[in-house]
């Protein structure tokens, strides 16, 4: 009896082992289609993202395309030293940071204000017309944007020169551009950036406003004591995300909208436009890659840091 049980057990074990072996093989096979499905995207990531990451080495080389990038001699930190000895380096970092800092602060106020006003009139039919209209400018490319800006600023015909009765050649006067770019930037992005706050306000419990109204709180007090505190996590999140991108700039805005005018560099050169100009116009791969790698690495560190903070404040919103 015992013997039969034993043999039955061992037989069972054997079967189990066999099954496991089979199932291991089977699972590996089961997942082959999944690997195949990911293959196109995986290849694209390698080509589009990972090969350029290795391309960072270029910044540490004295590139000579006649012998190839990999055979080019190492330059250590030469490229970076050359870059930071130029005045360009100071200029582009200053411009990138200043524009970003001012625009982050202004953008926050503008976006939240639009969202609060939109929430106020959200019950009305006109809100359904207004929202698409204020978001429309974000649908057009920087090229079209440059045409629109040109229609306003052109020396001989520009609308602005017409109403001012002047003939200012804006494309040669650097001092006007911080203001022009600010207006253009917010004209294009204000509506879109308010959408995220509108969604958050939509999620606030209406009963809170009811309660506040019964307690005698006016609109202003409702905004200060309910809406803004409820938006706080989203505001902090958006701020941190934009701080993570503080070394980046909108290439289209700073390159195409300024019509690539060399006389404007003192107020329009950012890291992104410098990387492009050094690469294509000055044909200086070393400087271009040094600036580009500098931007990528600082950006990476800032994204990690800001995410660390986001995770502490609001773990659900953290990227990782």
């Amino acid at each position: 009896m015992a013997k039969t049980t034993n043999s039955a057990v061992s037989e069972y074990d054997g079967l189990l082992a066999q099954k496991n072996k089979k199932s291991f093989k089977a699972t590996a096979q089961v997942y082959i289609p999944l690997y195949l499905m990911m293959l196109p995207g995986f290849i694209y990531l390698i080509c589009n993202n990972y090969l350029p990451m290795f391309g960072i080495l270029i910044a540490f080389k004295k590139v000579n395309f006649s012998v190839g990038v990999f055979k080019s001699p190492w330059a250590g930190l030469e490229n970076f030293r050359f870059l930071f000895e130029t005045r360009d380096a100071y200029l582009m970092i200053r411009n990138t940071l200043l524009y970003n800092l001012v625009w982050i602060a202004m953008g926050l106020v503008i976006a939240v204000s639009i969202a609060i006003m939109m929430a106020e009139i959200s019950e009305r039919k006109i809100a359904k017309v207004i929202q698409p209209l204020i978001c429309f400018p974000s649908m057009i490319s920087a090229v079209i944007l440059s045409y629109i800006v040109y229609a306003f600023l052109s020396t001989n015909y520009g609308f602005l020169n017409q109403i001012l009765g002047t003939k200012i050649n804006f494309y040669t006067k650097a001092k006007y551009w911080p203001y022009i770019l600010t207006v253009v930037h917010f004209w294009q992005s204000a509506g879109q950036s308010s959408i995220i706050y509108m969604a958050s306000i939509g999620g606030i419990d209406k009963a809170m406003y009811e309660a506040a109204r019964i307690d005698g709180a006016g609109k202003w007090k409702q905004i200060v004591y309910i809406t803004l505190p409820m938006l706080r996590p989203m505001i902090i999140l958006m701020l941190l995300l934009s701080i993570g991108r503080i070394f980046n700039s909108d290439f289209g805005l700073f390159y195409q909208v300024t019509l690539n005018s060399g006389l404007l560099y003192s107020t329009t050169q950012t890291i992104d436009t410098y990387v492009y100009r050094a690469l294509i116009e000055m044909n200086n791969v070393g400087m271009s890659s040094a600036a580009s790698v500098f931007q990528a690495i600082i950006g990476f560190v800032l994204v990690l840091l800001s995410n660390l903070v986001v995770r502490k404040i609001d773990p659900d919103s953290a990227l990782f």
């Binding site: 009305r124 929202q131 649908m139 306003f152 494309y171 195409q256 580009s292």
Partner: protein, 305 residues
């Protein structure tokens, strides 16, 4: 009695705020679209009136000369359009296919290796090699300079954020039990993907498809970096090169007038605005129908994008 007074006092500033908000927003909406009317007005004004009075919001000496010029140049501009439409359609379709194909395995909870691939994908959102390295990879290794691939592939084919969006949609909205049931019924993964995942994820596919299409339609940087052959210009690239050429001529020969530019076979001021107008027109036409989807996408993509 006292209560009524309090209510009344509260009521007035609330109304005031309401109407102030409405007026400001209406003005903002007008401000947002008024520049497009300036473009339109310039494109339908006669060249003589433009050089006399400059750009005005009210069309002067209504003339369709600019659009006639476009018609005369219909083969050049038509080719640009063809390239834009072709790259937008093909690019968007390929984008949707490879994005959803990549997202499906990442959403399968029984697929243990998915974490490795999710990390490979996710890392691209945090770190990139920068323009210089990308440019060298695309031009030196893949040799895409002056090929149609340059307009289709670099940076546009699959976005990490979109893959994560689709993956989340699959994981949240399509219960694993459905997939398991399908497998027991003998469906393979491709069948599950085409028969269950794709039909059940129409909302998210619509959103990322629209953003992808808009991205292709509006893309001009790939043209700037990789295209110098005018046969491959898309509408945006054509407009960009046109503006830059004119700007270059102006700066090199000091205050050149548009009449001179016209003799150099450069399109007139009105004609340029007309081309820009017809580049926006398709977006303008579909925008009322797609804006809801776009807004939805901005809410989801805004936080994590």
């Amino acid at each position: 009695m006292e209560k009524v007074i309090v209510k009344k006092r509260e009521h007035i500033p609330e109304k005031g705020f309401h109407y102030t908000a409405m007026v400001i927003l209406i003005l903002l909406a007008i401000y947002s679209i008024v520049p497009f009317f300036l473009m339109l007005a310039i494109s339908v004004s006669s060249e003589a009136a433009l050089s006399k009075n400059g750009y005005q919001f009210i069309p002067q000496e209504f003339s369709l000369a600019a659009y006639k010029y476009l018609w005369a140049k219909r083969f050049t501009i038509g080719r640009c359009y063809l390239i834009t439409i072709l790259t937008t359609v093909v690019g968007t379709l390929v984008n949707l296919v490879i994005t959803s194909l990549f997202a499906y395995p990442l959403s399968r909870q029984d697929f243990k290796q998915r974490n490795i691939f999710a990390f490979i994908l996710f890392f691209t959102l945090l770190f990139n090699g920068g323009l210089t390295a990308s440019y060298i990879v695309w031009t030196r290794i893949f040799m895409i300079k002056n090929t149609v691939w340059a307009l289709l592939v670099p940076g546009l084919l699959m976005g990490g954020m979109n893959v994560l969006m689709v993956r989340n949609y699959y994981a949240v909205n399509i219960p694993y039990a459905i997939i398991e049931a399908a497998r027991i019924d003998g469906a393979n993964d491709l069948r599950i993907y085409t028969g269950i995942m794709v039909p059940l994820s129409k909302p998210v596919m619509t959103t990322i498809g629209l953003f992808a299409a808009l991205g292709y339609w509006n893309n001009w940087t790939n043209g700037l970096y990789y295209i110098s052959d005018s046969k491959l210009y898309s509408v945006q690239v054509y407009l960009m090169k046109l503006m830059n050429d004119i700007q270059y001529l102006k700066s090199s020969s000091n205050g050149i007038e548009s009449a001179q530019l016209a003799t150099m076979s450069m399109p007139t001021e009105g004609a340029r605005m007309a081309i820009a107008m017809i580049a926006i027109l398709p977006i303008l036409l579909v925008y009322p129908f797609i804006q809801k989807e776009l807004v939805k996408g901005m809410v989801v993509g805004g936080v994590k994008g």
